[in-house]
Amino acid sequence: MSTGEKVAGSVANYVDERTGAAKWLKKNLTKVFPDHWSFMLGEIALYSFIILLLTGTFLTFWFDPSQREVIYHGSYLPLNGIHMSAAYDSTLHISFDVRGGLLMRQIHHWAALLFMSSIVAHMLRVFFTGAFRKPREFNWIIGIGLLTLGIVEGFLGYSLPDDLLSGTGIRIAEAIIQAIPIVGSYLTFFAFGGPFPGTSFIPRIFTVHVLLLPGIFLALITVHLMLVWYQKHTQYPGPGRTEKNVIGYPLMPVYMAKAGGFFFIVFGISAFLGAVASINPIWLYGPYTPGQISAGSQPDWYMGWLDGLVRMAPPIETHAFHHTISWNILIPGVIVPGIFFTFLALYPFIESWMSNDKREHHLLDRPRNAPNRTALGAFGITFMLVTLANGGNDLIATHFSLSINQITWMSRIGILILPPLAFFVTKRLCLSLQRADRELVLHGKETGRLVRLPHGEFVEVHEPLTDAQAWTLTQHEQLPALELPEVDAHGVLRPGGLRNRFRAKVSRSNAEAIAKPKPDDLKGIEDH
């Protein structure tokens, strides 16, 4: 035995005698994880969160979360002698006078973008493959919680440096809160410690940004991962993969080495972006004052959709009985995002209500085999893309020499027409793909080889699929639509008839499919 093994042995012995961990560890170190590139998206989110914790902690050592007014005398000469808040002053200090400070700021910001992008990509993977189905609904909801809080966390971080751009963002957030009926003015006065901008907001959101939300993230991520561990990972369908097993690599050593290595790669990529790609150069914007603005301001992309919605809102306010309701703010700023995120969070339950499927699912769907879900996803993505595009309407206008007027009207119409169109097209596309799969299984692959039959006709040779290929295309189940008779066995109208009729209709649309080939279909062909 080498010395290394001896030391490891006695450490393990020491720990086990006090915790009895050996049995648990033995079982879990060989835990099986299925491998697929799309399972790395959630990992990227986890790793970028860790990078945010590390770089963010570094930033707190110099960042001064205060709106106290100071005069700048640092090494960035263009701002010398300018009045500004201590927050802005200290961010300039980090950027120009702390060695590696700008690098850390930029890594922090790039990691934040990576965090949000990977969460969204991960969510889309889970959505389109149906990984949210029973028993994983809790984790879906936790994920939507992380996404929502991530948007808030990113916005607050962006606001901390108190530059002209981010201050304008805070002003807009203030107007949204202020627009809430009845309590709006009170909420803003409580949030800002008085009238906007005051001197309390930056210190307050600092605590939320570095303590409260990271704590909540940590708790949610822990539960999320414990559930993944306990419920075991889903897997893509294929030969040998069933609802009753998991096929993959053991945690120790393969998965650990791959995941550990991958952490360093994600960190390395963030460091590279931080090193070469300038992001949020706050010294160019100047300190915040409510009387100024920097033209062409753009929020980070995860806020861009909200900005795009606000930009396309119709100019409607209601003035009645000495009160005002700002629909132009409430609809894009509160109501539409509220509906969108609520629907997203509840989708697992909505789908199981449509399909009446209450069983566990561990094999993932190929998106084409769930046409309705895939089409709904396309609806949501299209909706978001239209809002995002409208969020950059000024950029698009200058780039394509259109007027902002034209683009805004295109977006207003587009937001109503394009998502349903995407739904329709995607659903048809999925059904065509199902039909193509059916053809493949029944008649095999085209080979391009022509043979001449005895009576002179040419036919192309089709090569049949292997058993494994055919199984992958046909293993899924096709559930029939829900039958909800409007009348009971005695011919009496059942209560809730209208609701049942609606549910049956939705269920029929949800169950639409091209019948997959059955063994009997193939027999018929062989007999020819």
């Binding site: 906007f196 030969p239 004052t289 809102a313 309407n393 058993d467």
Partner: protein, 330 residues
Amino acid sequence: MSDKAPRLSDPGLPEHVHRKADTDPAAAKKAERQVAILFTLSALGTILFIYSYIWVKTDRFIFIPIMGDQNASQLGMGIGLTFSLLFIGMGAIHWAKSLMPDNEVAAERHEFRSEEADRADFVATVKEQGAASGLGRRSLIKRSLGLSLGLIGLSPLLLLRDLGPLPKKSLEQTSWKTGTRLVTDPSGRPIKPSDLEVGAVAQVLPELQPGQERTLENVGKDAVLLIRLRPEEFELSPERLSWTYQGIIAFSKICTHMGCAVALYEQQTKHLLCPCHQSTFDVPRAAKVIFGPAARPLPQLAITVDSEGYLVAQKPFTEPVGPSFWERSS
């Protein structure tokens, strides 16, 4: 057709295919060397990082094609860090892929639902323990407990009350009073009509009284834009026309949509544009909204000149400035 059609049943896990390094010691040795090279590159990256931290001055710039002038210290540290991290990661993954066992293994899954007997047991236990507490029988305890639990949430809410003062009339008031002089921002000089040519714009604030200080809260409500047109260009009601002075018209600079500074003036069209969501206000028609999400014109400040010929406010704003709020009456 003679070819065999596929069977539509699960053929089971495919046969494992061995990698070269599994059977060929030379290939394994080569993979080992590659991993070692990757790890060594990482160490070199750290050395570059340390070098840049200690020996490269923070004010040194170097020219890099495409990227332009770059701060040498930040760039050196960044590239060093990138190498040190990336190559550790690549080394570990290459190691796992080429040398660690690559046979997939199967584990079993079990349904999460507990056995019927366990479920029944659980329900019975809960009922039994619940009965032991007597909560069901002792309704007095139950009700008072409900009351106290319901109320306890109020304390933390109440504690948040002191986060800020009540708004009172604050959202409806600005510092502009009858006779307040308009001064330039930031230099604070009073202005005469002759200071503004036709077509010019100026940002102004109310003059500070002795002992007063200007806070950002004031600026956020008081900021005003002056624009000078030719008097015949106005299309205003007689009342609003009397609020202008020799073609000079004054509007609140705070957007009625969400409060951004309405900073862009297009001389040709005489439009004021808010860069935040592109609400567009038509200056000759009292800043009527002609495009964008804003629902109200910018409030107009009535101006005139005082005995010394300086521009002053005729009276305070007649409506609240800035974005809407519930208590706003018009």
